[in-house]
Point group: C2
Chain length 454, copies 2
């Protein structure tokens, strides 16, 4: 049997783990710096917690866990004979793997509402599982990194998430990202102005093609989708929607005069944009984008999406927004929330492409002691103990070499693991050290070695 | 519907996550300091990778994942009508959740053998799942923390693991642990001397009761189990098995003269004990314990177990040993391995009992800015930005208070989250700060606040 792993899953080598942890730790540090607190929830939830929360397609993609023991015993025979997989599922499976972090978070908030101090700023970095068809960049097991605040409707939170994106990407060295922002209320306003909220998605999809097919092409598509010429005329400013965020806001304000909700959206966005401008961003830029309509069915206020630096071909590397009734599904009404997430796998690929992992310290020893002479081993291991207590990663090749070939094997080990300093012999406190990068061999004391390495 | 989680699983609050991460990070740091490299494997494996590796009981306790789609379609109708749960399982489930980290590690080594440099020192800290009956301290989802070396038979590795245990527990502040050590070859030697290897477990179980029931009680139990009086006589030194490790080794050497394997075990243990003594331990003590027989069916050399400091009632908080053919099950022969693991949940309980979490920095802001006056908000948020860039966790209460009650709510928030410094007002660069621990209110500049907090 040739060993393998299920499709859509991955083994991670040491180097990959180190790079991924570098991203995780940077995100975590910024989350905590901004006052967010970690929580963790179980990998599997009761099926009733997850089912029906992600639509029909989502239900299909949830991994279900088979009940233990004689799980068929109590199942109605007719269901089995009919081979009705869907109906049988709920009889033989009562647990399912987490599909995202949002629904478990909502469940957590409701379950622990009496222990939580609101507004509750939580972050969560855990894997999720989806029985999606695996393809390039899409996996069946992957991490989500979410930060959310529940219990506050303040626009300052929406400002803070822009700062948080900027801080994390700046710390990762990922300069030049674009944080796109929109507001659901502006989209509702546009819907009002074009006369049909059911056309809103057609409208934004068409508008999004402006760069590619030009104004004429977009108008043609909108007309085909049943949006009237008169309505299109009303939102004409969107076809020349360039300039600064302030220009765009002014243009939207003029355009949405007929819609109270739309004007509220403009006011909200203006508050966020103005405050972000006053506070300044380190390396990202904020861009008002009215075509941004992700998660339209549940976002109720701000909508975010982050684009990788120009020149890197990659979908969004983050996104989020405000939702007004996250916990309602579990019986706790009127808890507004707003949150963002970071797309770990895509951030990883972008950083790899831009060579941003060079600073990451890989998990390998700094110093290797060769083991050619049994009688020297104890002294070497004593020195290693001192190096380690000075926070220097060090080890001795465990097996003593009893032949030329075995000596070569130890050198090969040092080369394969890209170890910087190799100590060949130790005698009366004098070490013979080879600097593998410079290719130089010197003799030195332990203190000198510590200085050299640090 | 009242929200809940599956039995045997846990939600972790921020404080719990912080404490757990403190343990994880301490262990990780020491693992890497000792030259171990992290790997990660998928949460679920192909069923064929896991099934049959943990005995019949293990197979039963593995969580199986239901196939997606119309999974009943191709199942033989007769199996379904018979409700033969066990046979149906392999037809409707081809993936299963990881039961431990050892088998996935063996699979990883074989699958990636051409990319790995041997000896391979890996560590892995990931959750595992078992459909065990939940009880106090036993969960269906829990973390394992393992470090193993494969591809070396050197006794220096066995020395290193003793040092590693000592280092981790010392760094955690868990002083006074006892690292118990034994060697499978000594147990085989005893079996040889008592004349029956099938009586070895009965023998060690009885011997382990020496403290409680005295020599007479133990001998009685051994006779009842069918061990001859003559055999018991031969291993008589074990009934007075006290003194230093050196005393014990001398006693074992005399006792096992008839067994070549037993004497090899004494020699191996002596090497480990002598080297550990030469190197010294920081806070743990090493104790030779011939009753240590954990995992007898697969350990072939060293056997380890760690006991919590005296006075703390807790089972072992770590264990491990050498196994000679880990990867053979996946087709790669003759790869010897030795490894240890840390029992996270028990270590957590011990540290809680001994009050060792006091040094852990909890994830909460150091400084909270109250939000009573809209006009001050922007200035406050600007100050917060500076604090955060000085690595000080800070936040503003997001919603502005428009009533006395809402002001009280903000103070309550500060108290509930145990925030140390509360800034009430900011005017022209002068901050009014309340030190919540000392109960004093002062005015100061931003620089003074930064100094105060750091």
């Amino acid at each position: 049997m040739k060993p393998g792993i299920p499709k859509g899953t991955r083994d991670f080598s040491s180097t990959e783990v180190a790079k991924r942890n570098y991203i995780f730790n940077t995100i975590k540090h910024s989350f905590e710096n901004f006052g967010f607190q970690p929580i963790e929830t179980p990998s599997f939830e009761n099926s009733e917690t997850l089912m029906g929360k992600y639509g029909e397609e989502g239900d299909r993609l949830i991994f279900k866990i088979l009940n233990s023991g004689d799980y068929l015993k109590k199942v109605d025979e007719n269901l089995l004979v009919d081979k009705d997989s869907q109906k049988v599922t709920s009889k033989i499976s009562e647990k399912a793997l987490r599909y995202d972090l949002t629904v478990p978070f909502a469940r957590y908030v409701v379950q622990h509402q009496n222990e939580i101090t609101f507004p509750f700023k939580r972050y969560q970095i855990q894997p999720v599982w989806r029985a999606d068809r695996p393809q390039k960049g899409r996996f069946r097991e992957f991490y989500q990194c979410d930060a959310d605040v529940v219990g506050s409707t303040s626009l300052w939170q929406e400002v803070e998430f822009v700062q948080l994106y900027d801080t994390v990407f700046s710390k990762l060295g990922l300069k030049g990202t674009t944080i796109k922002i929109n507001n659901r209320k502006i989209l509702s306003g546009i819907a009002e102005v074009i006369g049909a909220s059911d056309k809103l998605i057609d409208f934004t999809v068409a508008l999004d093609k402006l760069d590619k097919i030009g104004k004429d092409g977009v108008v043609k598509e909108m007309l085909e989708k049943g949006i009237s010429a008169e309505a299109i005329e009303k939102v004409d400013p969107l076809f020349n929607f360039s300039g600064s965020n302030q220009d765009k806001l002014a243009s939207l304000e003029a355009m949405l005069q007929g819609s109270e909700e739309g004007l509220q959206g403009v006011a909200d966005l203006r508050t966020v944009v103005n405050n972000v401008e006053s506070l300044g961003l380190d390396s990202a830029s904020l861009e008002l984008d009215v075509t941004l309509a992700r998660g339209l069915n549940y976002y109720t206020g701000a909508i975010y999406e982050v684009a990788a630096p120009e020149g890197v071909k990659m979908g969004s590397i983050g996104g989020g927004g405000r939702y007004d009734d996250l916990t309602g599904i579990f019986g706790l009404k009127d808890v507004s929330g707003v949150g963002i997430s970071f797309g770990l796998d895509r951030i990883y690929l972008v950083m790899e492409e831009l060579g941003l992992f060079e600073a990451v310290e890989l998990p390998k020893p700094k110093v290797l002691f060769l083991n050619f002479e049994e009688s020297e081993s104890l002294e070497k291991v004593k020195i290693i103990k001192t190096l380690r207590s000075n926070d220097i990663k060090a080890e001795m090749y465990p097996d003593v070499a009893t032949s030329n070939n075995q000596q070569k094997k130890q050198w090969k080990y040092a080369i394969n693991r890209e170890i910087e300093f190799v100590v060949t012999t130790v005698e009366n406190g004098t070490l013979v050290v080879k600097d593998m990068v410079a290719g130089e061999q010197t003799t030195c004391s332990l203190d000198e070695l510590i200085n050299k390495v640090q």
